[in-house]
Structure formats: C-alpha cells, structure tokens
C-alpha cells in the first residue's frame, strides 16, 4: 500500500498546481485523476489538443501546458485513469483503475474535483443530441469534433467561448438562444468596479461577443418558454423571444447556464456547506488556505466556489503551501512569502465574479421547471413529482429519495441535487440552506464486485 505526505484528487488547474507546489516544498504527492491525461475539464487533453488545434481553442486553453509540463518531476506520482470512490479520515483513498480497486494513504488530502455544469432541466433536455456546452467543448478539445447544425442555449461566458471556437473551426452554430435579459445586464453594472480590476478578462469577453457578431450568428436574447423538440433525438429548439415564437432546427443542442462546484467528495466526508446567494449553489466552508473543518483536508479550485482556472491554480498552490507548513517543510515566513502574490491573483480573479454572476444569472424557469419536466435524469423523476412529495410532507432531498428514488441512480444526484433542493425550498417556503442537500455516501462512483475482488486483501476487509 502506497503512502504519501499528500494526496490530491483531480488533475485540473487546482490539483496540478497543488501537486507541483507541494512537491517543490519537499512533500511526496500522489495525484489521482479520472482522465487518461492531465488537465481537468478546462485544460482537457491540453498536451495533444494545444498542438493540434491551439488556434481554435485559444491562448487561455493552450497556457495549460505549463501546468501539465510541471507535473513531470520526481515528487509527484500522477495516477491517471483513477476513479476515486471513497475517502476515509486518516486519510485513505480508494479508487478503481484498469478494472481493479486500489488504495493510497496520505497525511493530508487536497480535493480539487472542480466544477460541473449547472443542471438545466428544460422540456426535452434528456433527448439524445442535447448535451452540456461543456460537453461540446470537451468533444472539441479531446476529440476534434464540432457539431454541425447546433444551437446554443442559455447564458454565460462559456456559451460565447464555445460559439467563437465553433466559428474558428469553420462550423458556426445556427443560433444562440440566450436567456439573459437587458435588465440583468444593466443591473450587473453596479458590480463593474470589481470587473474593471480584471480588465484583460473583460476585454476577452467583449472580444468573443464581437467574434460571434462578426460571423453573423443569430442571437436571440431574453428567451423564455424554451423546449427541445424531437422524436427519439433532438430536432429543434422552440422558444419565445422578441414577442414571438421561434423554432430553429438543430441536431445538437448545447445547454449552459453556469457551472457549480462538484461537492460530492466533500459531502461524503460530512463537510459543512453554505448556500452562496450570488452563485445560486452550495459551497464548502473553508478557511483562508482552503482547509475544511477537518484538519488536513483541503478543497481548492472551482469545487470550493466558482472563480475560474486562474483562481483555481492560485488556490491550489495556497492549499499546498499550508500543507507544507503543517508538515514542517516550510517555515511560516517561507509560506507567507510565496502566498502573498497568490492571494493578490486570487483576489483579482474573484473580483470579476460578482459582475459575471449578476450579468449571467441562471435561467429561472430551469431552476424551478414546469411539472412535466424530468429533473432526475437517472430515475426519471419530474418536477411535478417533487412538488407532489412536498404536499405529502417531504421537507428535504433525502426524504425525496424515499418518496420516489430521486437522486438514487448512478449519477448519485449530481444532475438533480440543486434542482430538487430548489423545488422543495419553494414548495415548503424554506431557504435552500434550511432545505439542505442529498447526503452523499461512498461509493462516490459505482464500483463492481469484480473490481473489489481484484483489490489487495487489507483494503478488501475495510470495504466490506
């Protein structure tokens, strides 16, 4: 059984930066990641993709090779293709790789599990051909695929980025169906001061919008009553905008209205989460280094609250510095000297968020969808089902499981948890915080008996 000073879960910007910073401080590091190659989702497969299509993906993507390149050092044991399915205090991490369960132990753990798309339950969102905008980007980055006859639906910088990348690839989307209203954009300007602290990011956003306009792509803003039509697969996007109903044929529909922290691993360890009113999601409660209430357990990057790749990198390094300090490898002075510029970078990146959060709020009808819309994709539980559970006395998401299996399929509530919380909060006239979230238990991802049987004996005893 392998033991490290530090185990890091997730090889995105936060995890890679944390692993390298900790190794530079003299810690032995095991970096576990699900994907076959490092980068996380934001820098997915960057080593290959930057060379093949860096021109399409842009400099904000190709810069990721700096982080993947730094992993090649003796202090970091990068374990790709490792799906972590249990974390136990002490610390012990169980994972599956190549069809076999395995484990590592460590003195400290940094969770860098990143973000996932905010679920966008619209009528028809389960049809084949409907994907998240993030999935569209992953197809481009990793596989060099660009959807023809695509319509992009929702709001936020990622939607513009995907559209611009599709233009550069020579296959522009048919239309952008934007949920943002003019009033939301105007209201966001009271946060303009913070945004101006990060001028380059703001300029990039305006550049993307100009690129989309230059390509002559139809933009429909303030869209409501959005639904995806299709018999067996997506065929068209239907919506109301500018006072009339539109129907745009589409074989691929990419949905996006923000990303949210992936909190599954932290929740499985019972870490307290707070409701973030600005970002409409739960985030773990952390100190200034990213440490949780459980000593030696840190969370860094978008899994701690959405702030983007640059902030994730800084947060990963800060957590690693504190881990190095706790392990006695860094003096207080060494830690603080290295931390100062990181804190400045983090503050600059976070300053942009109130503007973005206000300018591109989640699409309200997709937070509390109409009754017939499926919210739990795995168990096909509808919004109406959840509302009915509330009238029968269901006060929280964990009870909703007992009422109708919501959140009990293989995705374990990842794509319905926030919706179920929102629906129950509204029906019971409670805050999301009081309503709570699914209790997450290991295994965090399905693990087969065959994978367990292939594990070393001591670990098998504990897994029983």
């Amino acid at each position: 059984m392998a033991h490290s000073d530090l185990a890091v879960v997730g090889a995105g910007p936060a995890g890679m930066a944390a692993a390298v910073t900790a190794a530079e401080a003299g810690l032995s590091v095991t970096l576990l990641d699900e994907q076959p190659r490092p980068g996380g989702q934001i820098y997915r497969d960057v080593d290959r993709a930057a060379a093949r299509r860096g021109d399409i993906l842009g400099a904000d993507f190709t810069v990721g090779v700096r982080l993947t390149g730094a992993l090649a050092q003796p202090g970091v044991a990068h374990v790709p293709g490792a799906t972590v399915w249990a974390i136990e205090a002490g610390w012990r991490l169980l994972y599956t790789r190549d069809g076999r369960a395995a484990e590592v132990t460590a003195d400290r753990v940094i969770l860098a599990t990143g973000a996932m798309e905010r679920p966008m339950p619209l009528p028809g969102w389960t049809l084949p051909g409907v994907m998240t905008a993030g999935a569209g980007q992953i197809l481009l980055k990793q596989s060099g695929l660009v959807p023809r006859e695509a319509v992009l639906v929702g709001c936020g910088p990622l939607l513009y980025l995907v559209a611009a990348q599709m233009v550069r690839a020579g296959v522009p989307p048919r239309a952008l169906v934007e949920t943002q209203t003019k009033a939301e954009l105007i209201a966001a300007f009271r946060h303009a001061g913070g945004a101006l602290r990060n001028g380059p990011a703001l300029a990039k956003g305006l550049g993307l919008i100009a690129e989309i306009a230059g390509a002559g792509i139809d933009r429909h803003t303030g869209a409501t009553d959005i639904a995806i039509d299709g018999e067996g697969q997506a065929e068209a996007v239907r919506f109301r905008a500018g006072g009339r109903v539109h129907r745009i044929p589409a074989r691929t529909v990419l949905l996006h209205h923000g990303v949210v922290p992936n909190t599954q691993a932290a929740r499985s360890l019972g870490i307290a989460h707070r409701w973030d009113h600005g970002q409409h999601c739960f985030a773990p409660v952390l100190d200034g280094w990213g440490e949780t209430e459980r000593a030696g357990l840190f969370i860094a990057g978008d899994g701690a609250g959405i702030a983007g790749a640059k902030a994730a990198e800084a947060a990963g390094r800060l957590a690693a510095l504190q881990a190095g300090r706790q392990a006695g490898r860094l003096s207080r002075g060494q830690r603080d000297r290295q931390a100062a510029p990181l804190r400045a970078a983090l503050s600059r990146e976070r300053a942009l968020r109130p503007f973005l959060d206000a300018a591109y709020p989640p699409h309200a009808p997709a937070l509390r969808p109409p009754d017939a819309t499926v919210v739990c994709r795995c168990e096909e539980v509808t919004a109406g089902d959840i509302r009915r559970y509330a009238t029968l006395g269901c006060t929280g998401p964990n009870q909703a499981k007992a009422f109708g299996r919501a959140g009990m399929g293989p995705c374990q509530g990842r794509y319905c948890g926030l919706t179920v919380t929102a629906l129950l909060a509204e029906a019971n006239r409670q805050s999301p915080e009081a309503t709570g979230y699914y209790r997450i238990r290991p295994p965090l991802k399905p693990v087969t008996l065959g994978e367990l049987a292939a594990m070393d004996a001591p670990a098998r005893d504990a897994a029983e």
């Binding site: 999935a135 023809r148 399929g409």
Partner: protein
C-alpha cells in the same frame, strides 16, 4: 441532404473495427468511445429502464452516466472508455443500466 455525421471531424488517424449493436463501425483507434460513436452518427446509446426513453452522451466527463453501454459484457461509461480493436458494444438491456449504483 444531411451529412451522415452531425459532427465535423478535425482529426484523422488509423481506424479499427468495432461492433455496435450488431453493426460494424470503423472508429479512430484510441479515441474517446462516446465521441467516436457520435462522429459515426450514433446518437442513442441506451434506453432508460424506467420509461425506455432514448439517451446519448450528455456531460462527456464521467458524471451523468447517460452514455452507459455494454462492452464485452461489462456496463461502462462510453465517455470514460477508449476505442480498441474488436470491441463488442451493445446497448444495455433494460434494467442493466440506469438503476442502482
């Protein structure tokens, strides 16, 4: 006329023969299986066990479990699998993918 694939493919490379639901397909060796099936024009990978509704890849990052397929008898996420020569891929039978974890 619509192109067979709803996707433009930027990458080229050697292809290997796999069988999906009884149909032979030549997919790029080592490619992400979910992506390769999409590029081959396959959008529906399974039907849900609750209502029989069709599903295809949705998140492409191993989180949603909508792209479950049966590969050589084992139910796996297509988006977390790489294409290998001779793979026998089937749509999971009702009840084999979707319920339980």
């Amino acid at each position: 006329m619509k192109p067979a694939s709803p996707f433009l493919e930027l990458d080229e490379g050697p292809r290997v023969r796999v069988v999906f639901d009884g149909t032979p397909l030549d997919l790029r060796a080592g490619a992400n299986l979910a992506a390769a099936l999409l590029a081959a024009g396959v959008q529906t990978l399974r039907h849900t066990s609750v209502s029989g509704a069709p599903r295809g890849p949705f998140c492409m990052m191993g989180a949603c479990y909508d792209c479950l397929v049966e590969i050589d008898g084992v139910v796996r996420q297509a988006c977390m699998t790489e294409v290998a020569e001779g793979m026998e891929i089937a749509r999971p039978r009702a009840g084999e993918a979707g319920h339980g974890a």
